[in-house]
């Protein structure tokens, strides 16, 4: 049983650092290091589901690292009381503000699907593209990205596949446009996730970790950074697709039937959704935190009967818990002093900021091809932020830049069918094969890394101003 070996190895890694006492590495930091190694191994090899690993991390933190924890008393660690957070700090990550923001996003996505709002949006977004195959390709990229900025990338992909596959089947079998369109859907979904804080879970990981370090990044600030990056990479991605798969069809007949739901409930839903998104995007004008705004749909949609208890049960709670475990681990990493200890291992002073960003986002893109994007971000962001708390990089501005770079870079990890669920769906349709996906994925990983690096080191610093 391979799975048993991984579990055994994980438990060994959990205990190992505690065996080595040193002046600089206090017992609590050693436990945290064990936790980080075990969680990393479990997240990468997945002997248990990745969200289960997150919950296990929280349990171990409660037992070993919280104030008055049984482990602390039993083993009588010399654990400075001021370092030990209360148990509520760890369990509280399950309702971390960024996860409440996500919950708001889930509610909106659920209700939008119920009233077919997403399909109608795609319909009107694609209407101006007419029958030109090239315009249509860009239209599909943009529409998919827009939806996936507010819905899960996976649900968006599945919805677009359901809508567009009948169109593909009307093209001749040898028309490369089929492949281009089939690749455009996962590409748009993966890239669209970058655009807003609620687009995809890695964004939540970065914002959550920054919040733990006392840096607030609001909804609008995120979009100000990520939207131009998303649009640029969509444009480049579309051009790549056209170059690789030039369409043969001169025109394509796209008839998507449907009309907006105009019932009273639907109109109420449009109002709540529109108002919430408007408040999110304009946070810098009115100062209402996005978490507070997120609670508007969370409370009002059930109150209006638009979200039922079945809908509430269908929400992907495990995704929220996966992120919570990462945030929780980040708290111990910083509070126990492990972060400072890790940073002390390497002489960082020799590395300029632009090289640090390049290194972290490069590793992020690479890992994200093989691992869950959330896991990739969860493992890398706390390490990057520890450079800030220990003064290697200067101030909240650079910390925010590096965390956002890691998160968005993970969205460029999409060369394999297993890289992201949208890729798996696209491959499963049979309209595109793995080598074709790999080719585009490698091109996008390279272009995406360069673009993100350029944005993070040149453009974003001019867009952001942080209060120290």
């Amino acid at each position: 049983m391979k799975r048993t070996y991984w579990v055994f190895l994980g438990l060994v890694l959990l205990g190992l650092p505690s065996l080595f006492h040193s002046e600089s590495l206090n017992p609590a930091a050693a436990i945290t290091m064990g936790l980080f190694l075990m969680a990393g191994l479990f997240w990468v090899t997945a002997p248990i589901p990745i969200y289960a690993t997150s919950l296990l991390v929280i349990l171990l933190q409660l037992v070993l690292l919280s104030k008055n924890a049984p482990g602390v008393q039993y083993f009588s660690f010399p654990y400075p009381a001021e370092l030990a957070p209360s148990p509520a700090v760890f369990t509280g990550t399950l309702a971390h503000p960024i996860l409440i923001l996500f919950l708001g996003g889930f509610m909106i996505a659920t209700v939008a699907v119920k009233f077919s709002l997403e399909k109608n949006l795609v319909r009107i977004l694609l209407a101006p593209c007419g029958s030109s195959p090239r315009l249509l390709l860009f239209g599909i990229l943009l529409a998919t990205a827009l939806l996936s900025a507010f819905m899960s990338n996976t649900a968006t992909t599945a919805m677009m596949v359901a809508m567009l596959l009948p169109v593909l089947s009307r093209l001749t079998a040898d028309d490369p446009l089929r492949i281009a369109l089939a690749l455009a859907i996962p590409l748009g979904a993966n890239l669209g996730g970058m655009a807003t804080p609620i687009g995809t879970p890695p964004n939540a990981v970065a914002i959550g970790a920054l919040a733990s370090s006392g840096i607030r990044l609001d909804f609008g600030q995120w979009m100000l950074m990520a939207v131009p990056l998303t649009l640029t990479s969509l444009l480049l991605g579309g051009l790549c697709l056209l170059a690789l798969y030039p369409p043969k069809a001169k025109k394509i007949d796209l008839q998507i039937p449907g009309r907006f739901d105009r019932t009273g409930s639907a109109v109420l839903m449009y109002l709540v959704t529109g108002f919430t998104i408007l408040l999110w995007a304009t946070e810098s004008l009115h100062g209402v935190p996005s978490t507070v705004t997120a609670f508007i749909p969370v409370a009002l949609l059930p109150a209006l009967g638009l979200i039922t208890k079945e809908d509430i049960r269908s929400i992907s709670w495990e995704v929220l818990w996966l992120v919570a475990g990462g945030i929780s681990l980040g708290i111990s990493l910083e509070k126990t002093g492990l972060a400072t200890w890790i940073v002390g291992l390497i002489d960082w002073q020799t590395l300029p900021f632009f090289l640090l960003v390049a290194g972290f986002l490069g590793v992020s893109v690479l890992l994200a091809n093989f691992l869950s994007h959330t896991v990739t971000t969860t493992l890398l962001v706390p390490l990057a932020l520890s450079l800030g708390t220990s003064g290697v990089i200067s101030g909240p501005g650079e910390m925010a830049l590096i965390a956002v770079s890691i998160a968005v870079a993970s969205s460029f990890g999409m060369s394999l069918p297993i890289s992201t669920p949208p890729n798996a769906i696209a491959i499963s349709t049979g309209a595109v094969n793995s080598p074709q996906m790999f080719q585009l994925g490698v091109v996008m990983a390279i272009l995406g890394s360069l673009l993100t690096w350029f944005f993070a080191t040149w453009l974003w610093p001019h867009l952001l101003s942080f209060n120290q």
Partner: protein, 178 residues
């Protein structure tokens, strides 16, 4: 991994569900199996030329952990009728969820009523059939089975009714971003 669930089930997916074809005329059975070729990759196709053979196959399938997804049955069989066999399938909890299709040229009104009421018949194909017609019926019935049994549709996207299955993925949260 991000999609370990998908990969694990992808490995398990090929031919885990079964299609049973019961037809006593060898040539006709051959023709049905030939027409089912597009489904071979993802389903076990089990031919049987009489009822006792079909029962043995069902025992084998049960032992191997392969649920029966679809039974295609001729009506006129030596000693019994396809309808009676389908009624039998409908009474056994293990095969009750299977989709049931009768292929026949000679079923009277009485048998047809029995097939609908007691066997839970899902579709009636009258002989002669065309390959496209049979494939469309099989595709629809298998899609209905996948959705009804809440099996992850992702493995069947390419060969069954893609838009319908993709829609199910979109609304069911079977897969989410991680």
């Amino acid at each position: 991994m991000a999609t370990s669930f998908i990969i694990q089930s992808m490995n398990r997916a090929p031919a885990s569900l079964a299609i049973l074809c019961l037809e006593d005329e060898r040539e006709v059975l051959k023709a049905i199996i030939r027409d089912l070729a597009p489904f071979e990759e993802k389903f076990r196709i089990e031919p049987a030329s009489n009822v006792s053979e079909a029962r043995e196959i069902l025992v084998e399938l049960k032992r191997g952990g392969h649920p029966l997804a679809l039974a295609l049955c001729d009506h006129l069989l030596p000693g019994t009728t396809g309808t009676e066999f389908l009624v039998e399938l409908n009474k056994d909890p293990a095969t009750q969820p299977a989709r049931k299709v009768l292929i026949t040229a000679h079923a009277g009104l009485q048998e047809t009523i029995q097939a609908v009421n007691e066997a839970g018949l899902n579709y009636y194909i009258s002989k002669p059939w065309t390959a496209e017609q049979l494939q469309q019926v099989v595709r629809d019935e298998l899609t209905a089975y996948i959705l009804q049994q809440k099996i992850n549709p992702i493995h069947y996207l390419a060969i069954l009714n893609t838009p319908q299955l993709a829609q199910a993925i979109a609304t069911s949260n079977l897969e989410t971003d991680t």
